[in-house]
C-alpha cells in the first residue's frame, strides 16, 4: 500500500495540530446576532402588516431584548479580539471585501435602530415612563408617526444581519466546512427561528403563540431541507469537502450534531409544535427552549468543526 507520512516541525499553540483561534465568543456572537435579527424582523413584519395590536409580544415586548442581545454579542466579539485596544480601527474604514467589516457596520446601524424602536414603545410598556426632556418627546412622536417606515428599514437590516452571521464563516475558502453558500440562508433561517422561539416564550396570548408556532414550523422545515442540502453538496464535492462532511458522518461531531442540533433542536420541537397546533397540551416553553438550545449548539459545532477542516497538501 502507498504510505504517506507527514511530519511538520511546527507546533504553535492554537494553530497546531489544528486551528483553534475562535473559541466560545464567536458562536455566541453569531447566536445573539441571529436571535436579534429574528426578533426585529418579525417586529417590523407585523407592523408593516398593520397587526401590531394583535401581536403585542412580537412588536412591543420581544424587541426589548434585541438591543440587549446585540450589545452582549458585540461584547463577546470584543472579548475575542486579541488586540482589543485597537477596536476603533474597525470603524475607521469600510472594507467591502471583508465580512467582519460588514458585520461591524451593520451592528452599528441596527443596534441604534432597535433602541429607537424600543424607545418608541417605552410609554406603552411602562405607563410611568417619562422622557424628561421635551426634545425626546418630540423625537418619540416623530418615530411613532413614522413607525412603518422604520419597520421596513429594520426588516432589511435584520435580513442583512441574519445572512451575515453565516457569511462571516462561508467567506473563508480555506475552511471547507464553512465555504458553502448555503451557510448564509441556513444561519438566517436558524436565527429567525431562535428569534421566534424567544418571542413565543414572552407571549401571553395563545392566538399570537399559535401564529408564531406555525411560522416557526415552516422555518424548521426549511432548515432541515438546507441541512440535507449542505451535506449533499459536501458529499458531491472535492476531497476536502467530503472530509468536512465526514466529521459529522461518523467523525467526532456525529453524535453532538445529529442528537443535539437535528433531533433535539429541530425535529423534536417541530413535533411538539405540531402536536400543540393539533390541540394537544404541550408545555409552551419546551419547544422554544429546545430551539434556542439547538441554535446555540449548532453555532458552537460549526465554528469548532470548521476550524479543523483544511486543505490537504
Amino acid at each position: 500500500m502507498n504510505e504517506e507520512l507527514f511530519v511538520s516541525g511546527r507546533d504553535i499553540p492554537n494553530i497546531d495540530p489544528y486551528l483553534n483561534i475562535w473559541h466560545w465568543q464567536i458562536p455566541l456572537y453569531l447566536f445573539l446576532g441571529g436571535l436579534a435579527a429574528g426578533i426585529l424582523f418579525f417586529a417590523g413584519f407585523y407592523t408593516v402588516r398593520g397587526k401590531a395590536d394583535r401581536m403585542q409580544a412580537t412588536v412591543k415586548w420581544a424587541p426589548l431584548l434585541a438591543p440587549i442581545a446585540l450589545v452582549l454579542g458585540l461584547g463577546a466579539l470584543f472579548w475575542d479580539l486579541k488586540h482589543e485596544l485597537y477596536f476603533w480601527q474597525l470603524y475607521t474604514t469600510v472594507r467591502l471585501d471583508s465580512p467582519m467589516s460588514w458585520g461591524a457596520w451593520t451592528l452599528m446601524v441596527i443596534t441604534p435602530l432597535s433602541l429607537v424602536w424600543v424607545a418608541s414603545y417605552m410609554k406603552e410598556i411602562f405607563p410611568w415612563w417619562d422622557w424628561k426632556f421635551s426634545f425626546l418627546n418630540k423625537f418619540e412622536a416623530w418615530v411613532i408617526k413614522n413607525r412603518v417606515g422604520l419597520a421596513w428599514v429594520m426588516m432589511v437590516y435584520a435580513v442583512i444581519l441574519g445572512v451575515y452571521t453565516g457569511i462571516l464563516l462561508s467567506a473563508f475558502n480555506a475552511r471547507p466546512l464553512w465555504n458553502t453558500s448555503i451557510l448564509g440562508p441556513l444561519f438566517l433561517v436558524s436565527g429567525f427561528s431562535t428569534g421566534l422561539a424567544t418571542t413565543i416564550l414572552l407571549s401571553k396570548d395563545p392566538k399570537e403563540r399559535k401564529r408564531l408556532s406555525q411560522i416557526d414550523l415552516i422555518f424548521i422545515v426549511i432548515e432541515l431541507f438546507l441541512i440535507t442540502h449542505l451535506f449533499m453538496g459536501f458529499l458531491a464535492g472535492s476531497e476536502t469537502a467530503i472530509e468536512a462532511a465526514n466529521l459529522f458522518l461518523g467523525g467526532p461531531f456525529t453524535v453532538t450534531f445529529w442528537v443535539f442540533v437535528v433531533a433535539l433542536g429541530l425535529i423534536f420541537p417541530a413535533v411538539l409544535e405540531t402536536l400543540e397546533l393539533l390541540g394537544y397540551h404541550v408545555p409552551k416553553w419546551l419547544p422554544a427552549v429546545l430551539i434556542l438550545f439547538g441554535g446555540l449548539m449548532f453555532r458552537f459545532i460549526m465554528v469548532e468543526a470548521g476550524q479543523i477542516t483544511r486543505y490537504l497538501y
Partner: protein, 173 residues
C-alpha cells in the same frame, strides 16, 4: 521565493535564523519544516520543505481583514500593520496554509520576507543562512533574478493551488 526540495535536508537553520532575526516569541515560528514520505517500502521518497507564508497573489487574508491591517506592499509582499490589527483572527481563518499566528502581544504576525532587509538590498535571513543554498529569493518579474533563474529549467509545484490563492512559493521538485 523558490525552495529546492531536492537540496533541502530539513536542518531547520532557516527557522532559527528567522526567529533570531525577527524576534519571534518563544514557541512560535514564521517558517517551519515539513517532512513528507511517500511510496511503498522499500521504495520510499522523502521530501523536505521549508514553508512560510506564500505571499499569495490573490490573498484571502488581505481581503478579509476588516481594518486594512493586512495589506499587500509594493512588490507583492503581504504584510500586517501591527497598530491597525485588532486581533480578530479572520486572516488566520482565511489562510489555507495556516501561515499566520497570534503574537502574544495581541496582533497577528507572519513572515514578512524580511522586508527590512530586502529594502536595504539584502537577502532574507533564511536565504542567507541556508547551508545547502536551497532557497532562492528575488523579483519574479525580473528574468535575471535569483528566483527566476532557479525556476527557469526546473520542474516546480506550488502547494494547494486548488485553494485559489495564487501562492508565490515555488517548490522545485
Amino acid at each position: 521565493m523558490a525552495i529546492d526540495t531536492k537540496k533541502c535536508v530539513g536542518c531547520g537553520d532557516c527557522v532559527v535564523a528567522c526567529q533570531t532575526e525577527n524576534n519571534v516569541p518563544h514557541g512560535y515560528c514564521r517558517d517551519w519544516i515539513v517532512e513528507r514520505v511517500d511510496g511503498t517500502y522499500p521504495s520510499l521518497s522523502l521530501e523536505f520543505r521549508s514553508e512560510r507564508c506564500n505571499h499569495c497573489d490573490n490573498s484571502p487574508c488581505v481581503r478579509c481583514c476588516p481594518t486594512g491591517a493586512s495589506h499587500k506592499a509594493e512588490g507583492g509582499i503581504v504584510l500586517v500593520t501591527h497598530h491597525k490589527c485588532i486581533g480578530c483572527g479572520a486572516c488566520i481563518q482565511s489562510c489555507p496554509y495556516d501561515a499566520r499566528y497570534p503574537h502574544p502581544e495581541g496582533y497577528v504576525d507572519k513572515c514578512t520576507f524580511c522586508i527590512h532587509r530586502v529594502e536595504k538590498g539584502q537577502k532574507t535571513a533564511c536565504v542567507d543562512v541556508c547551508p545547502t543554498h536551497c532557497l532562492h529569493f528575488g523579483d519574479l518579474d525580473d528574468p535575471n533574478s535569483d528566483v527566476s533563474l532557479a525556476l527557469k529549467d526546473r520542474k516546480w509545484k506550488v502547494l494547494a493551488p486548488e485553494a485559489g490563492t495564487k501562492p508565490q512559493l515555488y517548490f522545485l521538485t
